[in-house]
Structure formats: structure tokens, C-alpha cells
Symmetry: C2
Subunit: 471 residues, 2 copies
């Protein structure tokens, strides 16, 4: 049976949308234009377009024409919360980790595994100009040892920026570090001793898990929901059974699930910290990257037992190695530890970041990169939904730049990752985000770099590969 002309046209156009010829948000050819170019009647095109609208592929905007729609977000396409009975464990390290890491910075791979800003995000010219100015203005001082807490210019600039998160801290209540990882290490060391139990989110940024493991700490995995982040009730259940020294949480645009903790959950978490006497280590490295420009408040607004930390690696430039801690009650201890293990920071870097935060147009820069990150996430997500099988679930982050993709139970993301690497595509399997090497049915896609044909093609390749890794 021959299908009617409008069906043929409709499926041809749907194919072009799925292939990325007409990407999400782009203007779709007008009815008149399609009629002329494809030599079909206006009514046939109208019929075909109505089908495309019904399928959710295009939308009509009054007095403007047709546009390619974002993929339909039905609630059941969002990743689920992984719940399991939590008990204290020693962290296992996924053996595939080194294999994935070896591809970092290698231009031979499409870098979906690199949670770093692309060159187009980093404000290079501005930083070059500030660097020149700092070298001129500060002279040799820009090359001396930093004082124990870090350069005051930077701490003062940070105290002004942190005001937006609701934190009211003086410059001398901030300790600067050589990047966020050092800040995390200091926070963990100040709050937990070897053998102590630390609560971590599942899934969690692998750098947190590696540090915790390296310090000889045990962990208890607390589920994190792709919408609301840390499941506070699950933490409470764990606290009833175990003494927990610290809980590491990324409340805003969590890596890898992109979740945001609602205010009520932050309050509940802070209350638990008071009740059970543990420290919340709030890793807020993505906090400035809300796609709508709003700034989420720090958990420290709701309680005293919080160490807040951040870095410029995702917002300004990772190569500067500038991070910080607001240690609260742990100020003296963190200062002491900092003086032992890494007493000084990069002076030039600290002065450059201070200059950029204070007078370099950081807010304008943030507006620009939030838009870029949002667009890169949306286009990658769009491509995943179009090219992966229907059973694929993917989050829709409100900030940051990582996508968390969940496949049916039994999917082998490590095997899938190896196959992807063979095809020049680097992704991060779910196991590296789990203290117990679980989550093998999930993987993370970073969208820190510009979306283009190469990315789209890579997603299409991954989408075709995926079904082979079902059980």
C-alpha cells in the first residue's frame, strides 16, 4: 500500500529534524516555502505539518511561523532516584576510571567525559588584560608567597560575591586554596579522621569519592534525586543507625545529576546536622551557573554546621587553580592544615581572579556563559532524546553543564563506554560516580564545549550503539 503524499512528506521532514538538519529551537521552513520546494500542494504540507505538531516535533508561533520544538519532556523520561539500603562501606574504585581519564584533553576524542569549560567559555582576552595590569600594578609582589589565608584582595572580592548566596562572611573568615579539590580535601580532613564515616550522595562527583577513599574514611551512600538532590529522609534513617562525621553535598546543579535542593530540604539537612552533630560540606562549584541567572542560597543560611566551598574552575578558568573555603567553626583547624600541606597559593592567579571578580565584568561574563551552557545542555539533551531508544531517561538541568542518562536496569555502561572510546567518543560510565561501583546502567555526558556537527554525530553513534549493551 502506498502511503499518502502528506505522510511521506511528514516522515521525511521528521527524519531531517531527528538528524539535526533543523535543530531544536530553529525556525522551520514556512508552508509556502515547503510547498514550492517540494512541489506539493499547500494543503498537503499543512496536513504534514499538523502531524509533525501532533508528534511534538514542531510548534506554531502566532504571526511568526513554525519552529522546531524541544523534545517532549514527559515526567517518565526523567532519571529515577536510585534507592537502596545504605550501609557503611569502603569505597571501591572503578577500574575503567584511568581509561576514561587518559582521554582528557586528547583532541582525538569527542570530550563528553570532560566536565570543564571549553575555550569559548573562558574569558581569555579579559584575563590577559587583567594579568598585564596586575603585573604592572603589583610588580614583584605579584610573585611573592601568599600570606597564610591567601591574598586579601581575593578574599575581599569573594566575601562580596558570597553575599549573593546569603553568606555574610568577612574576608578573614575565608581561606583560599589551589582549586576546589584542595578545598574539599581540607574540609574532609578537618571534619573526619581515618576510619570515620562520611555520607556521600549517590551518584556523586568521583573526585569526592577518591579523596574520601584516600583519607581512609568509610562512606555511607545516600540517594540523590535528579530533581531535588540529596534525599534528606534517607540520610536521617542512616543517622539513626550510624555516627556520621560529615556529609558531602553539592546542593546546586549537582555533578553528575544536575539536581537542586529545595529550600525545605536544605533547612531539614541543617536541622539534622544540629541534631546529630555532623558537618555539612557544601561543595558549590556549580552554584553560579543557574541557567536562569538566579543564585541559590547556601545551606549555611539555615545552620551553623556548614563548610562552604567553591572554585573558579567551571566559571572563569580551571588553569588558574583558585578555590576557597568558608570554614565556619573549623577556621583554625583548616588554617592549620593548610599551613602544613600546601602553605601557599598562586599569587598571580589570586590577584587576577580578584581583579576579574571586582572590576572585570564577572556578572556580564556569567550571563554570557550561563546562556552558552544552557544552550549546549539543551541541544545535547535534545539530540539524546531524538537518537537514543525511547527507554532512555535524561535529566534537564537548571544549571551547570552535565547530563545524566539512565538506561534500563542491566545496561552495561562500562562496556558501552569502551565501545564509545573505540569510536573516538569519551563518556563517563555511571560506576565512577558510585562508591560501590554501582550505577552501571547510567552514564554522564558533559556539555562544557560547543555543540556542533561532530557532537551531534557522536550522539547519533552512541544512540545506535546503546541497544547492544542491554542485558
Amino acid at each position: 500500500m502506498v502511503s499518502p503524499l502528506h505522510q511521506k512528506l511528514g516522515s521525511k521532514l521528521a527524519g531531517l529534524i531527528r538528524a539535526g538538519t533543523f535543530p531544536c529551537g530553529a525556525r522551520f521552513p514556512s508552508i509556502r516555502h515547503t510547498s514550492r520546494e517540494h512541489r506539493v500542494s499547500i494543503s498537503t504540507v499543512m496536513e504534514a505539518y499538523r502531524h509533525l505538531e501532533d508528534e511534538g516535533l514542531i510548534v506554531a508561533k502566532p504571526r511568526s511561523g513554525y519552529y522546531v520544538a524541544p523534545p517532549k519532556i514527559t515526567a517518565d523520561r526523567f532519571p529515577t532516584t536510585i534507592t537502596k539500603s545504605s550501609k557503611p562501606i569502603r569505597i571501591e574504585r572503578a577500574s575503567i576510571f584511568e581509561t576514561v581519564m587518559a582521554t582528557q584533553g586528547d583532541p582525538a576524542y569527542v570530550p563528553f567525559s570532560t566536565a570543564a569549560p571549553d575555550d569559548g567559555i573562558v574569558p581569555h582576552s579579559k584575563l590577559a588584560a587583567i594579568t598585564r595590569e596586575v603585573m604592572r600594578k603589583h610588580g614583584s609582589e605579584a610573585l611573592r608567597y601568599t600570606p597564610p589565608l591567601g591574598r586579601r584582595e581575593l578574599r575581599a572580592a569573594l566575601s562580596r560575591r558570597l553575599f549573593d548566596t546569603g553568606l555574610k562572611v568577612a574576608p578573614d573568615e575565608i581561606v583560599t586554596t589551589q582549586g576546589g579539590t584542595e578545598a574539599l580535601l581540607l574540609a574532609l580532613r578537618a571534619t573526619a579522621q581515618s576510619g570515620d564515616l562520611v555520607a556521600v550522595e549517590t551518584p556523586s562527583y568521583f573526585g569526592i569519592l577518591h579523596l574520601v577513599r584516600d583519607l581512609g574514611l568509610r562512606v555511607i551512600e545516600i540517594p540523590a534525586d535528579p530533581r531535588g538532590g540529596l534525599v534528606v529522609g534517607a540520610l536521617e534513617s542512616a543517622l539513626k543507625k550510624h555516627r556520621i562525621a560529615a556529609c558531602v553535598v553539592q546542593p546546586h546543579f549537582q555533578n553528575p545529576i544536575g539536581s537542586v535542593m529545595p529550600e525545605a530540604n536544605k533547612k531539614a539537612l541543617a536541622a539534622l546536622a544540629d541534631e546529630y552533630g555532623f558537618t555539612i560540606i557544601e561543595d558549590d562549584v556549580y552554584g553560579d551557573l543557574g541557567h536562569d541567572g538566579s543564585r541559590q542560597p547556601s545551606i549555611a543560611n539555615y545552620g551553623e554546621r556548614v563548610i562552604h566551598l567553591g572554585s573558579v574552575s567551571k566559571t572563569i578558568a580551571p588553569g588558574l587553580r583558585v578555590g576557597w573555603l568558608v570554614p565556619g567553626a573549623h577556621l583554625d583547624e583548616i588554617r592549620r592544615l593548610k599551613c602544613i600541606q600546601c602553605p601557599w597559593n598562586g599569587t598571580l592567579s589570586e590577584l587576577v581572579v580578584a581583579g576579574f571578580l571586582d572590576a572585570g565584568g564577572y556578572d556580564r561574563h556569567l550571563r554570557r556563559i550561563r546562556g552558552l551552557y544552557a544552550a549546549q545542555c539543551a541541544r545535547t539533551r535534545d539530540a539524546v532524546l531524538r537518537h537514543f531508544p525511547d527507554w532512555t531517561r535524561v535529566n534537564q538541568p537548571a544549571g551547570g553543564f552535565v547530563l545524566w542518562v539512565e538506561m534500563p536496569d542491566g545496561f552495561d555502561s562500562e562496556g558501552f563506554t569502551r565501545a564509545a572510546l573505540d569510536r573516538g567518543i569519551s563518556i563517563s560510565p555511571g560506576t565512577i560516580f558510585s562508591a560501590s561501583c554501582g550505577l552501571n546502567h547510567c552514564f554522564r555526558l558533559s556539555c562544557g564545549f560547543a555543540f556542533g556537527d561532530r557532537t551531534l554525530e557522536a550522539i547519533a553513534t552512541l544512540g545506535k550503539l546503546a541497544p547492544h549493551y542491554l542485558p
Copy 2:
């Protein structure tokens, strides 16, 4: 009784020399000039000058005139080797340490406690020019994450520089770090586990002791001689009784005693490492600063069990935070540890240092600063010998820029330090260089900064204070 005219003149001139009016090495007024200015006869001046020569205050150079002599160095003015029975201990931390550290970078203090290059040492203009060039040439790449071992440009430049120490290492056998302290930490972590025994020199740079203590290691103190460094025989005795995991040694211009290990001792140490199966951690941060320009060979020339490390903090600029390790057999382990605790370095800093080492005139720069450091050491030493009591002993370093001052047994350098701080002079008491808080009869004077009236006056003040801290 009235003393003869030539004696009056002689003691007046001697006073001016001791006060620094005519500093060590300076041309002394000619006989004719002094005769005219002081309205005394030529023969009286000649008689006075002969007395000054006899006292070792001035020397005559043929066809050139008189010069202010360096203070007489008699063998018994050199500090002694502290020998004591060594047994494994847990490191104690001198409580005065924080007090001294709090003065770092504070312009209110004469900075004899700061082992850092002065602004006049740091090649600011050159580094500013290289920074501009790096930002221009590398663009955003200069602000990306570094790869796991550090930027290849820096490792390549270091492999060429290390050739002068006799080390033949490929760039990929070098791991760069954020300064020397991180390199030390990695070397210790790769070779010793909590509870293990590590041999340290006595006295030793306090940063080494703090790291060792922080890692939960025990130490055994091995005497270091102000001339020949680590007393290898004492280490051998300790090895016969104890299993030692690693021995940390600064073979060249040791901080704080300025010692240099003779080749025979290096060979003997390397042989012991083979025989007893421990690792030598060779901290060579001062190695490029030999005052005569010669480069001492690494201990790694004499054996396999060596981790060599260095930094640019004393030679180029501390604020850049660039250090490195040649881990030898420990390459994989150090790489693994580095990836966990501090996976990235400052990219811009690494590229700037690579540029300076390769094409920035590092050798010319070294010639200049070796001369400055040598002169600053000599003038400070000179002032100490002139203004301190006769029982004061002080080393004469052949490189680097630290002086080690030894007072009679029972001298209280901590009390002396507190009194000096009250007078705006910051020095480092001996106790902070000892794992057992011993060496209270010694102190360290750093000469990293330009010598001038303020320094001279400070030394004179210290010289007058010193006798009050005898038992």
C-alpha cells in the same frame, strides 16, 4: 694615661668598620686621604693601619690600596655537629612556630625568618614579558586544566635543566607539582605508610617535619654537619637497629645549615639505600644556588633508590607555585596519588616557567642572583661576627641564603626570638628545625633580602640582646 694618637685613630676606625660604615669588601680610605682628613701625620696613619691589619679588619692589596677584610674565619667559629643517640620518636611541634609565622610578609619586621627571595631577586620584568607572550601564543589553552603529569613544555625544559645535575630523565619521567611542598608530600606518601619510620636530618627544614608529622609517620633524627651535611655513619648505625622507609635529605646548601654533601657521602648514602632497601628523598630546592656557580650532582647519579625534587620558589618566584619530582621507580604511584589529591597544576605558571627556563635567560639570571645571595650572606655573616659575642658560631654557606648561628649550650633561642620580635626583628629559633624541639641554643637567619642599614642595625640589636639569653 693618654693613649698614643695612632691607637686613638685605630680604635675609631675599627669602630666604623664594626658599625658597617665601611662594609666587608669595601675599599678603605687611603693613608694619604685619612692623614689629610684627620689632620694626623702619614706615619701615625700607617701605624694605625698596621694595627687594623693585625686585627684582621683590613687587608692591603698590592697596587690597589686597603680593603675591609671579611671577618676572620677560624675553624672554631663554625657551628658544630649535634650528635646524640638517635631513637624513633613522634615529632613534637614547637609552640613558637605560629608566632614566628605570623610575622611573614609583615613589613613591620626585619624578615630574617623568611627563607624567600626578595623582590630584587625575582626577575619581574622578564616574567611579565613571558606571561604576555604565553597568553598571546597559547590563548585559552594557557587557562585550561593541565594534563595529569603537568604541561609537557615544562617537563621538557626541566629534563634539559636536570641534565646539569647528572640526571638523564625524559619529560614523561618528571611529574610537576604546585610547589616544592606538594612534591615532598607526594614523595613521602609514596614511600611511607602511617606508623613507618622516616630518617630526617637534624637540623631539618621545618616544612619537612610538619609533613612527616601530619602523615602519622615516626622519625629518627640523624645529625647533619654544617660542612658535610647528613652524617652517613650515624644513619648506618640507625639502620642496623631500625627498619627505615625513607630518608629525607637536602644535599646541597641545606636549610638551615647550608651544608653540602661530598660526593663520597652521596655514594655511601646511595649504597646504604640499596643495602637496606629504603628510599632517599632528595630535596634539592637550593641546588641551583651555589655561590661559585657550580652545580652539585644529584644523589640519583649513585643509585636507583632516589626520588629527586625541586622548585622555582628560591630561584625564580615563590608565587608561581611550580615544583617537580623525578620519582624514578615510584612514578606510577606518585602519578596515582597526584591524580587523587591535587590533579591539576597552574597552567599559566607552568608555561611561564617553561618559557623562562628555555629562552628567558635563566642562566644569566642565576649568575646575577647567586652573586646577590652570596653578598647578602657574607655581609650578614660579617655583621654577626662583628656584633655578636666571641662565643658565637656561624656557618659560611657555599650556596643558598641561610645562616645557622650556634650559641653556647643552654642559650634560649626561643626567649631570644620573642625578645627580637618585640624589637621588630623576626628570626627562626633552632627548636623549629628539630623533630624533638631541641637545638634551642641555635637560630637561623635568612638572607634572601637586600642587606642595608636596617639589617645591620637589627644584627647589632640582636648582638646586644644575645648575652641575656645565656643560662
